[in-house]
């Protein structure tokens, strides 16, 4: 097996792939990257058995076909530290891989490709294509609300709910919820299909989607999800569990509607958060006609107060929130204003972009 490739062409896929390779491995092959050449198509694969990423490069000149695995971290470090514009020659001979560039020469240990575990997809797979930008937006809009290491393991991930003409994703840690829906033709024959992507898979996938206008093919099986683009194939195990009924917690009876400038609110949240209780992060909203007053205090008896002029004509209301949850929402929303719909001090708040929003956020109030 033999090929040559420019440092830059190799580096990007190698970095993507090395990202999933974990440092502590018991299966020795998992510390390695699988290098496969077929004609001018070079592919690099890394896996931790939960998530697998294959990075793909098309070589300018075909080499000699073959497949082998080499230590991922060392191979990446070598390529990264070579000078820009270097041409890298890769040669596999007599169980050794030799990497050469200019006057540099490295010999790497190998393990046979047959020892590299492959993730098998099951039957009943469903596939559809859309622009990468769609998937990227769905994830970017919601991933912050995923739980981390919650005992309710199905919350440590993101629900993907396929409808015939749309893809909806939902993330929640039990205290707040983020939901985004994009028009995607899923060619689904049933009415609805749900899958939970694990947290790590969601984060890796978002990192991969960096060519917004190019297509991505999504395949959802019983136990795995796969995303295929020109430059990579991403596969992740699905979380085996039932996502809670999110529809049940979407607030529907709010009649107190406040619209305010997002940036002003965001800054007010950030400043009041400084003097909120570090553990509970509570702030108090006092909403009166045309004015939102946000206050916070902490055990040291320090206090913050911010006033924001808002569009509000309802009856006065007072409600407590974890300010971090509000900051998270204000940070992902991009519209000029944001709208908060409340029912009373005890019911969850609905936060949206005022016009044509594809996303919505639910935040449970705090008792203060």
């Amino acid at each position: 097996m033999k090929f040559s490739v420019s440092r830059e062409a190799l580096l990007r896929p190698l970095q993507l792939v090395a990202g999933v390779v974990e440092k502590r491995q018991t299966l020795p092959a998992l510390a390695n990257v699988l290098v496969v050449l077929e004609g001018e198509k070079l592919s690099l694969t890394g896996t931790d058995l939960e998530v697998e990423i294959i990075g793909r490069v098309t070589l300018e000149n075909p080499g000699v076909d073959g497949e082998i695995t080499v230590p991922a971290k060392k191979f990446l470090d070598i390529c990264r530290s070579l000078p820009e514009g270097s041409i890298i020659e890769f040669l596999y001979q007599d169980q050794k891989v030799t990497v050469k560039s200019g006057r540099s020469r490295f010999t790497l240990s190998t393990l046979p490709a047959s020892e590299f575990p492959a993730i098998e997809l099951g039957d009943n797979d469903l596939s559809f294509s859309c622009e990468q930008a769609e998937i990227k937006r769905l994830i970017d809009r919601t991933s912050f609300a995923m739980a981390q290491q919650d005992v309710r393991y199905y919350l440590n991930g993101m629900l993907w709910e396929l409808h015939q003409d749309s893809l909806r994703v939902v993330a929640t840690d039990g205290h707040r919820l983020a939901m985004c829906t994009r028009p995607v033709n899923t060619s689904l024959s049933e009415e609805l299909k749900q899958a939970i992507l694990p947290r790590k898979g969601v984060i890796e996938l978002a990192r991969l989607l960096c060519e917004p206008e190019k297509p991505v093919e999504i395949i959802i099986g019983n136990s795995h999800v796969r995303a295929i683009t020109e430059s990579f194939v991403f596969t992740s195990k699905l979380v085996d569990g039932k996502f809670p009924d999110y529809e049940r917690v979407l607030p529907r009876n709010g009649d107190k509607i406040m619209i305010g400038n997002r940036e002003e609110l965001r800054q007010a949240f950030t400043r009041t958060s400084i003097l909120s209780n570090e553990k509970y992060r509570g702030v108090r909203f006092v909403l009166t006609e045309g004015l939102l007053t946000i206050t916070a205090n902490n055990p040291e008896q320090e206090e913050a107060e911010e006033q924001v002029v808002v569009d509000y004509a309802g009856s006065p209301i007072e409600v407590g929130f974890n300010v971090s949850y509000l900051q998270d929402v204000a940070n992902v929303i991009s519209s000029e204003n944001l709208r908060i719909t409340l029912a009373d001090s005890n019911s969850s708040a609905l936060i949206e972009e005022p016009d044509n929003s594809d996303s919505l956020y639910v935040v449970m109030p705090m008792r203060l």
Binding site: L27, A147, Y153
Partner: protein, 402 residues
């Protein structure tokens, strides 16, 4: 964890149990001295914080104002006289003592006073075992002051000087007796308990008072007409063995006679609890799945039972495997909510197992719980946390409404 073994066989040990009196409520009384002598209950939310008037006086919430599902965290002796005890539903308490003062719990303040009293004790007697926010064991065996009553008086004074709070101390020859004894003269008590005092002072106590006889065992003992520690001491060992198994029966008998040789463990609380098993023959994860699955599940169940018995929750669940070649590997996962639930432990340990090489046979499998926290401490925190930040999917909370 460093353990201090019973120092010398010939000399009896001097173990003190120190318990702060109505700790949380007493801390609150320091802040609000005008409440002294009144029934006061801690367990409200921050809306129950006293409101200061322009003239400097404070208006307090009353128990009857409380609406919600919280429980009483602690109560003053005056409130206890009205039948209000910790862990009682606050609404229920309100029926018994509607006029009692209600205050929100302030754990930061309690932790502050907790460290003050512990520091004060350590300056006099450095060998202590931390048993939580308001109690410690102290090993006085090696202390140069040989007059035990004098020493205990010094400690009480040091605690009082450091915190303005009172505590109750009992010195006995072991932890079991010391713990029982500190209850005998509350509040502000000082008890010296010798073996000779056991029949008169310990035997009249209800069996449930003994640390290690939980509500279930107490009920079982009562059903056998064993109501007091004295009844237990006189009970037929065979009868106990029949109902409680050999180990626990032995322990019950010894406890009733005031015997306990547990050392003071100065390393604080346990670091980890684990269960493991070596197979009769080496097993393969896939080929021997049918055999392995029940073993694995049982290990997790036993670990869960250990945690519950010892009163701990674990934040981290790990597994240990020993392969045929004796190479040992471990994997663990940390949860955001500590657990003692066998299902969660099994699930988490299962996740760990997925991260190891299962192509090779192994001879030993172990499950370990670490990152331990006393369940009472967590539950208190959790109660407070839930009162502040309810859950969207809480069955009781319903559809996103409190």
């Amino acid at each position: 964890m460093s353990q201090h073994p019973p120092s010398s066989q010939s000399r009896p040990r001097r173990i003190a149990h120190l318990d702060m009196d109505a700790f949380f409520a007493s801390v609150e009384l320091l802040r609000y001295p005008e409440l002294r002598g009144m029934p006061v209950v801690v367990g409200g939310r921050s809306i129950h914080k006293p409101v200061e008037q322009p003239d400097g006086t404070r208006v307090f919430s009353r128990l009857r104002d409380y609406v919600g599902r919280g429980v009483v965290t602690t109560s003053t002796y005056e409130a206890r006289a009205l039948g209000v005890f910790s862990a009682m539903g606050t609404m229920k308490a309100a029926k018994l003592a509607p006029d009692a003062i209600l205050l929100p719990a302030d754990f930061e303040a309690y932790r502050h006073y907790s460290s003050l009293f512990k520091q004060a004790v350590v300056r006099i007697a450095p060998v202590i075992e931390d048993r939580g926010i308001d109690e410690i064991y102290i090993d006085l065996t090696e202390h140069p002051e040989t007059d035990t009553r004098e020493l205990a008086t010094q400690i009480k004074k040091a605690v009082r000087d450091a915190t303005q709070l009172t505590c109750s101390i009992c010195v006995a020859e072991n932890k079991l007796l010391a713990k029982l004894g500190s209850e005998l003269d509350k509040p502000d008590g000082l008890t010296i308990l010798t073996r000779a005092d056991i029949p008169t002072r310990i035997w009249p106590l209800a069996v449930g008072k003994v640390n290690g006889i939980g509500p279930k065992s107490a009920a079982k003992l009562n059903a056998l007409n064993i109501l007091t520690v004295g009844d237990l001491a006189r009970a037929d060992k065979l009868l106990l063995r029949e109902h409680f198994g050999q180990n626990y029966a032995e322990w019950l008998h010894a406890a009733a006679h005031g015997e306990d040789d547990r050392p003071i463990s100065t390393g604080g609380q346990s670091k980890s609890i684990s269960r493991e098993t070596t197979f009769e023959r080496d097993l393969h994860a896939r080929q021997d799945r049918e055999q392995l699955t029940p073993i694995f599940t049982q290990l997790c169940q036993r670990l869960s039972a250990d945690l519950k018995r010892k009163g701990y929750l674990a934040r981290t669940i790990g597994i240990k495997l020993r392969y045929t070649d004796f190479r040992r590997i471990t994997r663990d996962l940390t949860l955001s909510t500590p657990t003692d639930d066998p299902v969660v432990i099994r699930k988490t340990a299962g996740e760990c197992l997925r991260r190891v090489d299962l192509e090779r046979k192994f001879r030993l499998l172990g499950v370990k719980a670490s990152g331990l926290i006393k369940s009472e401490d967590w539950n208190k925190q959790e109660e407070i946390r839930e009162q502040y930040q309810p859950d969207l999917f809480d069955e009781n909370g319903g559809s996103g409404s409190l």
